[in-house]
Symmetry: C2
Subunit: 103 residues, 2 copies
């Protein structure tokens, strides 16, 4: 199962690194405890929508851009988990063919 909070954490950490900011700086900017931000970056805690907005602001990133990054990272994992494109699989099932397992 592809978990939103894990990929979100990856994206937030990457954006922080790109800006050369420390956890301490983001913590001060977003007024969120350093430990909490660290847990979010490691995908161990869910970020509330308000906290996510604060983190994006602290990183000078738009929420839409962050979500776009997460969407793309999720898509990569989804593709890795499902080697056979869903459309091909569906077409094969509709036509009654036996679908060979890719596993």
């Amino acid at each position: 199962m592809v978990l939103f909070r894990r990929l979100l954490g990856d994206v937030l950490r990457e954006r922080r690194m790109q800006r050369g900011m420390t956890l301490r700086q983001v913590s001060a900017e977003a007024r969120v405890s350093l430990g909490y931000i660290s847990e979010i970056e490691r995908g161990q805690k869910e970020a509330s929508s308000e906290l996510l907005a604060s983190l994006c602001a602290a990183l000078d990133a738009s929420l839409s851009d962050v979500l776009l990054d997460v969407s793309q990272a999720v898509a990569v994992e989804e593709a890795a988990l499902a080697p056979i494109p869903i459309s091909q699989g569906s077409a094969a099932r509709r036509s009654g063919d036996v679908v060979a397992s890719a596993a």
Copy 2:
């Protein structure tokens, strides 16, 4: 402040409607209480990453597609909240020009 859970709720409701599913059907499919899904659709509750994955599966939607939709909906709200594109504003500030308020 643009809140992730509100736009996520809108997208999840829209996808459910497109599939012609009732809350009851999604509830049974995702094994989540009907009331909880309703609150998520109205942006009143945060969905955990596990719940979000279950809801996407129940709606036969990929998480990446749902997040892409949310990203786009967020971008529309961000644009409405900030009439002057950030890039123009930044360029104007860098050049030392006085930036007129659009408000």
